[in-house]
């Protein structure tokens, strides 16, 4: 921890960066913190309890400012950074990415290519409990699955914490706020909530890196991250990408090729 604080303080003290995004102690677990001065770097903490995906802040212009910033990135954050980079949302020259290795060493990446090489060693895994729900859902008939999600969706009140916590939901105007035409019914009701989640999952197809921030953020406990997580499992073999890593073939929703397989049409 000391090495991390020293590193952040040094970057701020010599003016290399204007801000370091990291974690500080929170009410029950660490939370995001923005260090603007070397003194503030003494608040930084790092542990397996750091679950917020800080990549979500990297596309917020009013928070990031115009200067160079450093971000202390967990493995899920690194995955999101790579995806944001292939979507041309990050300026490599304005971002220093730091992580803390398994051996507690502070590592600063020279560039995004180095991040890609680093995370190749970390396989995207489903937690036992999540795999259990996915297995359960796979064992259901289409009607049963619809019933399961409709029940879950009945709890949704459309606070959009799932969207707000997702590093890849960076649109300044979301499809749910489009009203000419109104693509999705904006009020909270089971079907209107389902419409929103189906859209969210579709927009994440081939882009989601499986960090689970959407599910963690949901205040009413809907396991919505499983929708996008399952999408990764289904798409990765079809589109030839490694789960959690950017696809080299463009993302599934927006890329079309004449020889695309059509075996999904049944």
């Amino acid at each position: 921890m000391d090495k991390l604080r020293e590193k952040a303080a040094a970057l701020l003290a010599d003016g290399t960066v204007t801000m370091v995004l990291g974690y500080e102690e929170g009410t029950n677990k660490p939370r995001p913190v923005f260090c603007h001065t070397a003194e503030q770097a003494s608040k930084l903490v790092y542990s397996s309890q750091c679950i917020n995906n800080l990549a979500v802040y990297l596309t917020k212009k009013d928070i990031m400012g115009a200067g160079k910033v450093a971000v202390i990135a967990t493995i899920p954050t690194l995955r999101s950074i790579l995806q944001l980079s292939v979507e041309n949302q990050l300026n490599e020259d304005n971002l220093i990415v730091i992580t803390v290795t398994d051996k507690d060493e502070v590592k600063q990446f020279a560039n995004f290519a180095e991040i890609e090489a680093y995370i190749a060693d970390f396989q995207l895994k489903l937690e036992g409990k999540e795999q259990e729900i996915i297995n359960k859902l796979e064992g259901m008939s289409r009607e049963e699955r619809f019933k399961f999600w409709m029940e879950e969706m009945s709890h949704c009140f459309k606070c959009y914490a799932c969207r707000a916590a997702c590093p890849l939901c960076y649109c300044t105007k979301c499809i749910v706020e489009e009203n000419r035409p109104q693509w999705i019914n904006p009020w909270a009701s089971p079907l209107a909530n389902m419409e929103w989640q189906i859209n969210r999952a579709m927009h994440m197809a081939g882009r989601c890196t499986g960090c689970g921030a959407c599910g963690d953020a949901c205040p009413v406990g809907i396991p919505i991250h499983l929708l996008t997580r399952k999408m990764i499992e289904d798409l990765a073999p079809e589109f030839g990408f490694t789960p959690g890593q950017p696809s080299k073939n463009g993302n599934a929703l927006s890329t079309w090729k004449a020889d695309d397989k059509e075996n999904f049409i049944r």
Binding site: K29, D62, V220
Partner: protein
């Protein structure tokens, strides 16, 4: 106001008489790892071990989405079917906490401020609150700092304070409460003179509310808003779980020549909340939205409605994905 005692068996009897009377009863129920208010039939369904429901009970009087009116055009005539208050059912809210009950005062003030809201008042009129004093609290609770307390009676029709014998001290506070008690009058016994304060949670005073209000009066341009809100993601979780947040949007469910106009929850934390048609947004950045949230609750509402817009329930802090802890933020403002 009258105080009585009810035994454990008496409580069961009273509850079943309430259900039998045909009133809808909503109570905290544990499901899917969360405790939320739900329609119940039996006392055994009601959750026991929990600090707070994730969501407040405000949806009983201010639903997530509610039809204001529906319309249909036929042969050049428009038929409008307005909201009918007679369709609202008699409802009992069981095991509400004092901080939720206290939320009805600011809600009622908002919905009767410059306009008497027909829908809200129709729900309120048919709602009876059976509040339970809090025996437990957690570090997000701060009711005592916002004019409340774990045994506070504000907003309630009946307040129960549970006793070790499974019975309860019953404070009958309003005619509505009295009418509910009359459904099983024989289940109630004379007050045993127990002091309820012995059975209440300890919620320490965290800040001086008037001090906060005084400091906020000159804090509009303070750097504190940017400092506090940097990590805020701009979702509506805090507003939607809040017992006093009452902002809404009006939406149209139109299908050709007929449709419905729907009122649905909105939040000042959303970036589009204040976006003008021109493209100008007077609250362009999250720090301005966070300032609005705090000033509205702790400055504008007491100024205009003589009631604070926070009951110290701590739900926003618990629901926030990035730990925007309101107690911590208000305490820090009170000390600036």
């Amino acid at each position: 106001m009258e105080t009585k005692y009810i035994s454990k068996n008496g409580l069961n009897e009273w509850f079943s008489q309430i259900v039998k009377s045909g009133k809808r009863v909503y109570a905290p129920v544990e499901e899917r790892g969360k405790v939320e208010f739900k329609k119940v039939q039996a006392l055994s369904e009601v959750a026991e071990e929990y600090i707070q429901t994730t969501q407040s009970i405000k949806s009983a009087v201010f639903p997530r989405a509610e039809v204001l009116f529906s319309y249909e055009k036929e042969n050049g005539n428009v038929k409008v079917e307005d909201f009918n208050p007679d369709t609202v059912k008699e409802t009992v809210l069981w095991k509400v906490h004092p901080c939720d009950a206290a939320g009805f005062k600011p809600l009622t003030a908002i919905f009767n401020w410059d306009y008497t809201d027909k829908l809200y008042n129709a729900h309120l009129e048919k709602t009876t609150l059976v509040t339970f004093s809090c025996a437990k609290a957690d570090k997000s609770c701060f009711c005592t700092s916002v004019n409340g307390g774990p045994g506070n009676t504000s907003g309630s029709d009946v307040l129960l304070t549970m006793l070790p014998d499974g019975g309860a001290i019953v404070e009958i506070l309003t005619p509505k409460g009295e009418a509910l008690v009359q459904l099983a009058a024989s289940a109630f016994e004379n007050d045993k003179g127990e002091d309820k304060s012995k059975y209440l949670a300890d919620v320490p005073l965290a800040f001086d509310l008037e001090e906060v209000r005084a400091r906020l009066a000159t804090a509009f341009d303070s750097p504190v808003w940017k400092e506090q809100s940097e990590r805020c993601l701009g979702c509506g979780a805090c507003a939607f779980v809040c017992p006093t947040c009452a902002c809404f949007d009006i939406q149209e469910d139109a299908h050709g020549s007929k449709g419905k106009r729907i009122r649905c929850w909105d939040s000042c934390g959303f970036s589009l909340f204040t976006l003008h048609t021109s493209g100008h947004n007077p609250r362009a950045v999250q720090s301005q939205r966070w300032r609005q949230r705090i000033l509205h609750k702790f400055s504008y509402m007491p100024d205009r409605l003589s009631v604070f817009g926070c009951t110290g329930c701590g739900r926003c802090s618990r629901a926030c994905p990035v730990d925007m802890n309101i107690l911590e933020h208000i305490t820090s403002i009170s000390k600036k």
